[in-house]
Amino acid sequence: MHKTDENLVVNMQNVNKWFGEFHALKDIDLSIYEGERIVVCGPSGSGKSTLIRCLNGLEKHQDGTIKVHGTVLNDNTESVKKIRKNVGMVFQQFNLFPHLTVMENCILAPMENLHLSEVEASKLAMSFLERVQIPDQANKLPGQLSGGQQQRVAIARALCMQPRLMLFDEPTSSLDPEMIKEVLDTMVALANDGMSMICVTHELNFARRVAHRVIFMDEGKIVEDQSPKDFFENPQTDRARLFLSQILDH
């Protein structure tokens, strides 16, 4: 993989973010390249979710520069829309639209953004529902599905926009243990297709299997940025060592 400016997916320079008095992100510098798969981990409140939510403008940063696919993210609606068009996001709570069927959930965005007809959008959506292996649930409401199925629908829904980068915000944290695997398998399959991904997760096996880089955050800062092998076997900071020992020893 060549790391050149042309295939820079995310470029954050000196980014700072506050929630009132709380300094949520501190001087974040981060570059992510096409095809890279990043796992972001760290204790709760360390700024992991805030970091990826800043990338598609769900949270506003107050200081520094964020570029996604070469577009500078600022208050301008056009810049935000241009970035969101190419960035898909999957949430911890799925956030499916409960009053719409699985299919309707999936076609809403492509119909509005890609100006597809309902038939074209449905065809597209069906191909992604097949990819996450739930085409037979297309006409059900989200509430009729299991948590794992709902999260796979959420992944399919995001893929329908044909994004170049996928953000995952703790996608398995609100799932029952026996459903985590089906969602992780879906994400691994996506990774194997070469999708650029940034994934906030505590699933360290997933990180070992698919990540190119593990980013460890603490108190709003990026403390480590390493290959999974180096991070797990040879963490550089005490904070990361402590975190790993707590997460692995239970």
Binding site: R84, V87, N95, F97, H99, A158
Partner: protein, 227 residues
């Protein structure tokens, strides 16, 4: 109709009941106008409260607070008696009652609807935005269909308050069930004493309001069953 009532109830009760029922239609008209006009204004105010422009939200919130803090009776006095005297024009009771009730209704409905929209989980907005769906489309296709579920029962319930609220308009000379009844109660006619007239009026108000209250309760129960 009037003869039929006289046949059944005799005089003067047949005549009284006929006049009260006839006057009730103005109560209903005023309620409908208040609900329709108030609903339209409330929709605009609600939209302002959720608008991404913070300034507009403040204006809308101020409107809601202001008209929720003034008694309806005060609004009626102001629009029906105060302002006409100030500018030296006659304002007919219909106009004054309509304006007062629209202001009153819009403030309450806007608050109910704002609350219903706020009850939709923030993750729904975020999912819409993350999918690059515009603010207006997210509102229309994602948020409102869910908010209506939360807002429907209290809205129907509030219609009962409007209907009862219209009874205050008699004070500025609006000729409805209340004014007609009060005239009869004051009339020196045997058989139209207050203890006869007021219960009849109460029954009429009850007949209009009770079905709405039942509908509101049913909607609420359905909503609970769904969630």
């Amino acid at each position: 109709m009037s003869e039929l009532l006289i046949d059944i109830f005799g005089k003067p009760h047949g005549i009284i009941i006929f006049q009260l029922v006839a006057a009730t239609r103005f109560t209903i008209y005023l309620s409908l106008v208040a609900f329709g006009g108030g609903g339209v204004v409330a929709a605009m105010i609600t939209f302002l409260t959720i608008s991404p422009q913070p300034g507009l939200g403040k204006i809308a919130q101020t409107y809601i607070w202001f008209f929720q803090s003034i008694p309806l009776l005060m609004l009626l006095f102001l629009t029906g008696l105060g302002v006409p005297r100030l500018i030296g024009v006659d304002v007919n009771p219909w106009t004054a009652a309509t304006i007062s009730l629209v202001l009153f209704t819009s403030a309450y409905l806007a608050e109910v609807w704002r609350g219903a929209i706020a009850a939709v989980l923030p993750g729904q907005w975020e999912a819409g935005f993350a999918l690059n769906i515009s603010f207006v489309s997210t509102l229309k296709k994602v948020i409102l269909p869910q908010a209506i579920r939360y807002g429907l029962a209290p809205t129907v319930g509030f219609m009962v308050q409007i209907i009862k609220g219209t009874s205050l308009a008699y004070i500025i000379g609006f000729s409805d069930l209340m004014l007609t009844g009060k005239r009869w109660a004051n009339a020196p006619v045997s058989g139209s004493e207050p203890f006869i007239i007021f219960p009849i009026m109460a029954v009429i108000y009850f007949c209009i309001c009770y079905p709405l209250a039942v509908v509101a309760r049913k909607l609420e129960a359905e909503d609970l069953a769904k969630s």
